[in-house]
């Protein structure tokens, strides 16, 4: 039972990879990439959690109370916002590819190259 977060993260990673490989539209592949990214968030936060710990915000709890790890939260926090802009850049690439080649299918894009 205590392996559950990591099992869920592994499932998300593999499901997202399957989505990227098997999608026939670039935009579907980009959305499956979002699922893969969220697998890393779950792993990081799962590593930092400690049983009975509270959020690392000591505004109203005494300083010596048990808290979860704040360092992994910093990593995931900036990651969430930045992956959104990276996804925006990938979407821009997909729009340009459609304008240039007329289709969003990865197979068609390859065929037009040679």
């Amino acid at each position: 039972m205590s392996f559950l977060p990591f099992a869920v993260a592994a499932w998300l990673f593999l499901a997202g990879l399957y989505g990227i490989v098997s999608s026939r539209s670039l935009i579907r592949a980009i959305l499956s990439l979002t699922v893969v990214q969220s697998a890393t968030y779950v792993v990081l936060l799962g590593v930092g959690y400690s049983k009975g710990g509270q959020a690392p915000i000591f505004a109203d709890i005494p300083q010596t109370s048990k808290a979860v790890d704040p360092v992994v939260q910093v990593l995931v926090l900036t990651d969430v916002v930045i992956e959104a802009t990276v996804t925006a850049m990938l979407l821009a690439l997909a729009v340009q590819a459609h304008k240039r080649f007329g289709s969003l299918d990865p197979q068609d894009l390859r065929a037009l190259q040679d």
Binding site: A10, F13, G48, T78, T85
Partner: protein, 247 residues
């Protein structure tokens, strides 16, 4: 697909084996986190340790991440630049601007009234980063959602007036520059890049944490500018640009 299936099974086995080597969920072994939790409040005079780590103790990492954001929005602007063969559609008159079914004048008036509330919440979250959950990144995204409400109520051209091209680009660049300047001021005034150079204040009060407020504001400005630039580019593509690029 068969190749992927085989590779995925192999990768999945290695992944699960690797993840099972981690300490069990709930038994946290790291030392750094416990040390920060123990001394963070008295060291940095800030009650929200996540923001303290983000902008003060590990401020250098945030500089790198912020420039990733800047670079990817730069990529969006470059990729969607106007190519030969594309032109802007003739500017629509205000009266036949895109109207969604059911969009009445009340909706449009309400959207303009909601913007100050969203901006107030966004600025509150940016400024109170070192006291409660919040900070530059969260508040910046909330601030970017403000002008978007105008677009959602059906008036795209008005959104362009509320958040014009030049202004948001200058805002984003100013935010990035501001954050780098905070780091450089640490170098100039305290001898170490990104060392806290302002007086630390009392934990729990608004002006505590030294440079965290400044850094938070700079990052908030940059993140909101970045998202507004990206929204603007996509809006231009969907509403204004037409034609096919000639290679």
């Amino acid at each position: 697909m068969v190749l992927f299936g085989v590779a995925a099974v192999g990768f999945g086995v290695v992944l699960v084996y690797g993840l099972s080597g981690l300490p069990a969920f709930g038994h946290y072994h790291g030392v750094y986190g416990k040390v920060i939790n123990g001394i963070g409040v008295t060291e940095r005079h800030a009650t929200d340790l996540v923001t303290a780590l983000n902008f003060d103790i590990r401020g250098f990492d945030t500089l790198g991440e912020e420039f990733i954001l800047f670079g990817s929005v730069l990529g969006v602007v470059l990729i969607l630049r106007q190519m030969r063969g594309e032109h802007d559609r003739p500017r629509q008159h205000e009266a036949d601007e895109h109207t969604f079914a059911g969009a009445s004048e009340a909706l449009r008036a309400l959207s303009l009234a909601v913007i100050p509330a969203i901006l107030a919440i966004g600025i509150y979250i940016v400024v109170h980063g070192q006291l409660t959950p919040g900070g530059g990144f969260q508040g910046g995204v909330i601030l970017a959602a403000g002008p978007l409400v105008v677009f959602l109520a059906g008036r795209y051209l008005r959104m362009r007036i509320v958040a014009p091209h030049t202004l948001v680009e200058i805002g984003e660049a100013a935010g990035a520059l501001g954050y780098a300047l905070v780091g450089l001021s640490g170098l100039v005034l305290a001898g170490v890049f990104f060392k806290n150079f302002l007086p630390l204040g009392i934990a729990g009060h608004l002006l505590s944490g030294g440079q965290m407020d400044l850094a938070s504001a700079a990052v908030g400005l940059e993140v909101s500018g970045a998202f507004l630039v990206a929204f603007g580019e996509f809006l231009d593509q969907a509403m204004v640009v037409s034609g096919s690029p000639r290679s």
